[in-house]
């Protein structure tokens, strides 16, 4: 442990007077909660007024309160030497790391930064690292940051960013107290009135005062003549190189100075402590650029307020704002210094602003543009779903929210929900982008975000969506955290009246390991099935596919192909693939006979269809209501 932190310099042996009260109060606050209140704390005063004592006391007190705290005291000169040594021995990185491990850095004699460019840039880096992780920096200097010549502008603003306090010359009472303390420490006694007389003499620093005291002590010890109040001045004056006593002005000014010091005592006694502290906090926050209406209101009240609690609340608000601003600036540098980041009363607005920035920067995945409703062929098996989709597009968030589409693989669920997404996207106005994501993608993204610690940002991406589409939502089965996220996302969007569309290979009731709260929400909208295509739809699908891929096919091929049941559009494609492959192998066109031969031969060996089992009730035509008198989500729910 550094010599400075060995307990010689403590708060209880530091005499507090009007000239240093603010500095001591700030120092105590910093020692009690490092990194929380004033960071960095910058203390300046002419030499010999107790800067080093004060920062030593901060380090010692902080160590006492939290023995695990890594406290480092280093005068700037040593810092520079260490840096040079580190660089010359190729250990610059180790040097940096060493300081980045420190919880509280006490840096003395900062004024020597003047002109040391490389030290400044190194310090700037270390400061950024320390402050970024909420660790405390305390600096002492013989002049304010703005007066340290030739220092990097960024470093100056960094130095000035926390609290700057000065220590003034001690006034009479403090001088007496300091002298009495010193005497008690060194077990010296003087005749009554001697210390008071000594304190009355002008002095430039506490060190000077100590020197004078030492001189008196020496006189007393030598026994030349005993020290009395009357001869104090002559003893001290004899030792001064430039005695400045006895000037006519000195006494005259003293009268006013004495008056001031008495007034100072009266002010200190009578101003209401809590208001002073609150006023200080307000001034501090205002200087830091924050709006303090919240605190000023309290100042105007009559009852005493809990300043610490208020300030802590304000500080945490500020911390949150800083965090938000930093986040926003990362996304878009133009957001720096925005008003919304300056008033802890309006944190929700700042949060909204950041979410907007996130969304603008990194929009959630959208629907695939190739899938549109126009390219979807309607048939009996999917007309219910199509109508529901159209109704949803017409009144997003109102009619069927959520719309849950289920059906076997390849029936066109993905096509349908993406088509809804595209239609919604074209349909202005939506409050945000249309997020379209598959269940497995949702889970993967969440895992990646958890890994990078960017869950908040990931969440915000989706929260800003104007509509949410989750394909293959069954992929979330058994994934608790993903379901949890989806649940909150769903609630946020649903309550904001935004449309949610879900697709799965089975109805919500059959998705295993799905939380009941999600299941009930999915069920709460419209659950609609897409059946495997019937003959008519199959024929239409084949006609269209053949048009695209084999326009020279013999007429009637589509009708023949449609005889075979398929699970959906995807399978139609694979059947056509086989037929075309066979045609190419035979070196001819697609003819009826080729199709018959191909399907007849391979049909049994490779069954082209696996009858999808779905909601059987829809197979019964009698149970399907084709014309909905009042197609309202609730009514459909009851009918189903």
């Amino acid at each position: 442990m550094s010599v400075l932190l060995d307990g010689r310099f403590r708060f209880d042996n530091y005499v507090v007077g009007a000239s240093n009260r603010l500095a001591v109060a700030a120092a105590r606050a910093v020692a009690e909660s490092p990194g929380a209140s004033y960071n960095p704390l910058f203390i300046y005063s002419p030499s010999g007024l107790g800067k080093t004592h004060l920062i030593g006391a901060i380090g010692f007190a902080a160590k006492q309160l939290q023995p695990d705290l890594v406290v480092e005291y280093v005068p700037l000169d040593d810092f520079v030497d260490q840096l040079h040594l580190a660089i010359s021995s190729g250990q610059a990185e180790a040097f940096k790391q060493r300081y980045q491990r420190v919880d509280m850095l006490l840096l003395d004699d900062v004024q020597f930064l003047t002109g040391r460019r490389e030290t400044q840039s190194e310090m700037l880096r270390i400061f950024n690292a320390l402050q970024g992780s909420g660790r405390q920096i305390i600096m002492a200097s013989d002049r304010p940051p703005s007066e340290i010549a030739d220092v990097d502008e960024r470093l100056v603003t960094r130095l000035a960013g926390g609290l700057i306090v000065d220590i003034g010359l001690p006034e009479y009472e403090t001088r007496v107290a300091i002298l009495r303390n010193k005497c008690a420490e060194r077990e010296m006694t003087f005749a009554d009135g001697v210390l008071e007389e000594l304190a009355r003499m002008p002095c430039g620093s506490v060190r000077e005062l100590q020197g004078a005291l030492n001189r008196l002590a020496a006189h007393e010890a030598l026994g030349e003549r005993s020290v009395t109040p009357a001869n104090v001045r002559s003893i001290i004056a004899a030792g001064r190189v430039t005695p400045d006593l006895g000037r006519a002005g000195a006494v005259a000014t003293d009268e006013f100075a004495g008056f001031i010091s008495d007034i100072a005592v009266a002010v200190a006694q009578h101003v209401e402590g809590w208001r002073v502290r609150l006023g200080q906090r307000i001034a501090h926050w205002q200087a830091a650029g924050y709006r303090t209406t919240m605190l000023e209101r309290t100042l105007a009240m009559n009852e005493e307020a809990d300043v610490d609690a208020l300030d802590a609340a304000f500080a945490s608000g500020v911390a949150r704002l800083e965090q938000l601003e930093a986040q926003a600036v990362l996304l878009d540098p133009r957001l720096a210094g925005l008003d919304v980041f300056r008033d802890p009363q309006h944190i929700p607005e700042a949060e909204a602003r950041v979410e907007q920035a996130i969304a603008a920067q990194n929009p959630p995945p959208g629907p695939w543009p190739a899938f549109t409703l126009e390219t979807m062929i309607a048939g009996k098996s999917n007309q219910l779903a199509l109508r529901a989709a159209e109704a949803t597009i017409e009144a997003p968030g109102v009619r069927y929210n959520p719309l849950f589409v289920h059906g076997g693989p390849g029936v066109g669920k993905t096509h349908l929900v993406h088509a809804v997404g595209n239609a919604l996207r074209r349909k202005a106005p939506l409050s945000g982008p249309v997020a379209c994501v598959s269940g497995s993608q949702f889970v993967d993204e969440l895992i990646a975000a958890l890994q990078d610690g960017t869950v908040d940002r990931w969440r915000a991406r989706y929260r800003t969506a104007g509509a949410l589409i989750v394909d293959d939502v069954h992929a979330l089965a058994g994934k608790e955290r993903s379901q949890d996220e989806l649940f909150h996302l769903f609630n946020a969007l649903h309550s904001a009246g935004k449309q949610v569309v879900l697709a799965s290979d089975r109805p919500p009731s059959e998705i295993g390991e799905l939380e009941a709260r999600l299941r009930s929400r999915f069920d709460g909208g419209l659950v609609v099935a897409i059946q495997p295509p019937d003959r008519t739809l199959r024929e239409s699908l084949y006609v269209r596919t053949l048009q695209d891929r084999a326009p020279d096919a013999e007429p009637g091929v589509a009708a023949l192909l449609a005889e075979l049941p398929v699970s959906g559009a995807a399978e139609v494609e694979s059947v056509i693939d086989r037929v075309l492959h066979a045609a190419r192998a035979a070196g001819g066109a697609v003819t009826l006979s080729l199709v018959r031969r191909e399907l007849g031969a391979g049909g049994a060996a490779t069954p082209v269809s696996s009858p999808a089992v779905a909601d059987k009730s829809f197979l019964d035509l009698e149970k399907i209501v084709m014309e909905w008198p009042e197609p309202d989500g609730r009514v459909i729910e009851e009918l189903r």
């Binding site: 006013f256 007034i263 200190a268 101003v271 006023g279 200080q280 100042l299």
Partner: protein, 205 residues
Amino acid sequence: MSLVNYAAREITCKIVYYGPGRSGKTSNLHYVYNQVPGDRRGSMVSLATQTDRTLFFDFLPLDLGTISGFTTRLQLYTVPGQVYYATTRKLVLQGADGVVFVADSQRRQIEENVESMQDLHANLAEQGVDARNVPLVIQYNKQDLPRELIMDVSELDDILNFRGVPFHAGDALRGTGVFETLRSISELVLRRLSGAAAPRVAVGQ
């Protein structure tokens, strides 16, 4: 006028020197003015007649610097003592945070002192101020004059200080008691910052 502005961290006290004509109010201000380092005082505004009598008022702003973090200012005013400047006196008295009553210790002036003291109370009452709540300090000035011409402090105190406020003997021309008086009134005024009514305790010399 708000005495303490916690948000702006300012304390501003208006102190009015009251008393009969030629009792030495302006001398008090002059002495203070001369003792204050140049950078701490504003220019003293004095509207005087050709014979150096205060016609309207004297005004001396004093910057006491930063005390306990507060920028502290004292504004010292004097009123014209002559009976016929009643309106001016009322104006100057408005908004005073504290009053120094400068009494003339000369035996032949005792009537004027009493009259002026009554005038002060009447004016305060007229402004709706309870005189008992206004910080008041009395200075018995001209105590340097030959004993046969003046009344001593205890005698004067019996007559004038019926409220038992702090008092000081003074010789404003040479400065005796000037700062003691100013200190005393400032402390009384500042004591009111804590909200409690200033207790009236006689602080003898």
